[in-house]
């Protein structure tokens, strides 16, 4: 997939990012907080954003890239409009979470960590979300679906 970082469309976000950098710079160890906020702001961390952070915090770009690629919450490519998270925590796994993932993969022709071509859905395997009482559990953005059965998957996806 190819996409270009749109400087114009992102102008106000870039302003905001610069403010965040100025604020966090006052504290020790600013890189993780800045990356976290940037990920939230842009939904991903394109090289252009990393470069702004590099200049703002005076940290070499290579180091920033190294950190950004280490943590699974940081993404270098944009995610889909909806992120489907299937809990693969132990409690959900023993209650059949793998079947749920397999079904979503089939339905959307999608691998874990991938995004559909229309950029509508991304699929992620998450860890315990603290709702083990509802295992197996999946989330679509903020919505939580529990006590799932693979057969309910298509219906849930259709809602979005």
């Amino acid at each position: 997939m190819e996409f270009k970082f749109d400087w114009e469309k992102n102008a106000s976000k870039i302003e905001k990012l610069k403010e965040i950098i100025e604020e966090k710079k006052q504290k020790k160890g600013p890189l993780m907080p800045v990356l976290n906020q940037a990920q939230k702001l842009f939904g991903y961390l394109p090289i252009e954003v990393q470069r702004i952070i590099s200049e703002g915090l005076n940290i070499p770009l290579a180091e920033i890239y190294g950190v950004a690629t280490f943590y699974s919450q940081f993404s270098l490519i944009p995610k889909g409009k909806y992120t489907i998270g299937v809990c693969l925590g132990t409690a959900c796994y023993v209650k059949g979470a793998q079947d749920i993932i397999d079904r979503i993969k089939d339905e959307l022709d999608l691998e874990v960590g991938g995004t559909t071509k229309d950029r509508k859905f991304s699929l992620e395997a998450t860890r315990c979300i603290g709702a083990c009482g509802l295992a197996p559990v999946m989330t679509v953005n903020e919505d939580v679906y529990g006590k799932l059965n693979a057969d309910e998957v298509p219906g849930i996806i259709k809602k979005y």
Partner: protein, 596 residues
């Protein structure tokens, strides 16, 4: 404070919030206002009650009526009947295994065997209201420490109490505090490890969501004891509610002068900040956590030096787990002897577990150390659902092991769990029944460690990958005779040569299942069968023509139309089409679907 005739506690822990208790809270408040009950009835938003399985949960005091599985539509009735007319809504009361309606929280078996120290306030107070925390003796321990005790006295109390780290390792906390206090350095730090890496656990999360001030207070006490004026809580970004409530707690404590300068009018200064993780399990390891706060990749560092001497920014640093801190205030207030009276000699106090998997009462439990596993599973947990047979219980997450049925009388202490090849861990406790394949569980955990290995040292990076490949081979029916021996050899090598705890403990799930369930491995390798019937490549579904009544339910359930047959005649499964989803087995009312 105003007096209310009734308090309505509504669980806003993650489990219940996921089932829409947030909307219920809004509706409750709306209706109470509408009926003009708002001067008489107070709605209190609390953290997890523990019995998440029965959620969403609402408890109404003074009666202590314990409503479970509440739905948004039920709120009207609760307000109309109970709050307005004073009639308990029987229909919604929690039913125990005895199938009798239980009226009051105190009668629920689930709670009877528990002892709440770390979870004292969870499900009791509104975590977003500092005044409630204070009303329940909050910040009294900090006051006592600052006005009546020298730092070394504080350390001695913690030492005497025998408190051990609840993050997994079980290291004596008092000793750690002592080392940090004695380390040379003008600047010191206090850290709280809230990275909660065990993939099936949510103890720390629940404490932060249900009683965040407990952690703030204890960290300030620790700061005073070791001589630090700055604290950091490193918390998973995946825990938004916990982050929000902890931030509120910090802000409120600061407003009240319980954080900041000259706390309680003394010359003690202490402040704290939240730092978010970004989804790397290895960052739960203390040196990796420190690297991450410093803004680096979260890779473990060689020890020594230990954080107590050279930690965050090379300064002496105390690092403890959330639950460890949650015990501190109680120990200060009630004394070391009180704490030692709970639990066993070498493992004093309680432990919180996230009980999950194939168990009736999924949820959060806190028990005195030394309680036998059996009691947790059968009495508190209510046993295995659907009449299935108990097979094993897993503790310690990816670093722990599976404990078989014949060891279920083992008391829960640090040492006894290690002795039988598992470990206490941070508190995940997952129950497995006869339908859980132990080889597949080992594969599941290895898959996790391979993904989470930071890659710094080869035994972990490459060794665990090789182990995973072998396990994948075995579970897919391609296992070879030497594979089991190979697994054992690799496991021993990785254990002895990996740099950090992640690698050193990664083989444990494999070793413990090999020890107790070797026959399952052998069945996969030699007979190419999966005794539990879960490894898809090793099972096939067929229909017993004798038992099949031709009800067509299975054919309707099959997502790929693999089942054919006339109504009232035996059905058959087309093996080429079958994707082994098991849907037919679940639907057949006559048990005619055979899976082997």
């Amino acid at each position: 404070m105003e007096l209310y005739r009734s308090h309505v506690l509504i669980c806003r822990g993650t489990g219940c919030t996921s089932s829409k208790s947030d909307d219920m809270e809004v509706k409750l408040n709306e209706l109470i206002k509408e009926k003009e009950l708002d001067k008489e009835v107070k709605v209190v938003r609390t953290g997890c009650f523990g019995l998440c399985e029965a959620g969403p949960i609402i408890v109404v005091y003074p009666e202590g009526a314990f409503y479970s599985h509440v739905k948004l539509e039920d709120i009207d009735e609760i307000v109309e009947e109970h709050l307005l007319k004073g009639r308990i809504v029987d229909r919604l009361l929690y039913k125990g295994e005895e199938e009798e309606k239980i009226k009051s929280v105190n009668e629920v078996t689930f709670y009877k065997k528990q002892k709440r120290v770390a979870l004292k306030n969870c499900g009791v107070i509104d975590p977003e209201d500092i005044n409630e925390y204070i009303a329940y003796d909050g910040y009294m321990a900090l006051g006592k420490v600052l006005t009546e005790m020298e730092p070394k006295d504080v350390i001695n109390v913690i030492k005497d109490s025998g408190l051990r780290g609840r993050g997994g390792g079980g290291f004596p906390s008092g000793l750690k505090w002592d080392f940090t206090s004695k380390a040379e350095g003008d600047q010191k730090y206090v850290l709280c490890n809230a990275d909660e890496g065990d993939p099936g656990a949510f103890m720390d999360r629940s404490i932060l969501e249900g009683d965040p001030h407990a952690v703030v207070e204890a960290m300030a006490i620790a700061g005073y004891a070791v001589g630090a004026n700055q604290g950091y809580v490193y918390i998973r970004a995946e825990y938004p509610i916990a982050v929000e409530r902890l931030q509120l707690a910090i802000d409120h404590a600061r407003e009240k002068g319980l954080l900041g300068e000259n706390i309680f009018g003394t010359d003690f200064n202490f402040d704290m900040e939240i730092r978010l993780g970004a989804g790397a399990f290895v960052c739960g390891e203390e040196t990796a956590l420190i690297a991450s706060i410093e803004g680096e990749r979260g890779m473990p560092r060689n020890k020594p030096p230990f954080p107590a001497n050279s930690g965050l920014w090379q300064k002496p640093t105390l690092i403890n787990n959330v639950e460890t801190y949650a015990n501190v205030n109680q120990i200060i207030l009630n004394g070391a002897d009180w704490f030692k009276d709970i639990g066993t000699e070498k493992s004093p106090g309680t432990k919180v577990f996230a009980l999950g998997g194939k168990i009736n009462n999924t949820g959060l439990v806190e028990i005195p150390m030394g309680t036998p596993l059996k009691e947790v599973i059968y009495e508190i947990g209510g046993g295995i659902p659907n009449g299935k047979k108990f097979k094993a219980v897993q503790t310690g997450g990816p670093s722990g092991g599976c404990i078989p049925a014949d060891l279920i009388d083992t008391p829960i202490t640090y040492d006894s769990l290690t002795e039988i090849g598992s470990m206490m861990g941070s508190g995940g406790m997952i129950v497995m029944d006869e339908e859980t394949c132990m080889v597949d569980i080992a594969r599941f955990f290895l898959d996790f460690t391979v993904e989470e290995s930071c890659g710094k040292c080869p035994p972990c990076r490459i060794g665990t990958k090789r182990m995973l490949e072998i396990l994948e081979r075995i579970t897919s029916g391609n296992g070879e005779a030497e594979d089991i021996d190979k697994l054992e050899r690799l496991a021993e090598n990785i254990k002895s040569s990996a740099l950090c705890g992640l690698g050193q403990t990664a083989p444990n799930p494999v070793l413990s299942t090999l020890k107790y369930f070797r026959d399952e491995y052998e069945a996969h390798v030699n007979e190419k069968t999966c005794p539990a019937g879960t490894c898809k490549d090793l099972v096939s579904y067929s229909i017993d023509p004798e038992a099949c009544k031709g009800c067509t339910l299975c054919a309707k359930a099959c997502p790929v139309d693999a089942i054919s047959g006339e109504r009232k005649e035996a059905h058959v499964i087309d093996q080429d089409k079958c994707i082994k989803c098991g849907a037919c087995e679940e639907k057949c009312p006559f048990g005619a679907i055979i899976n082997k």
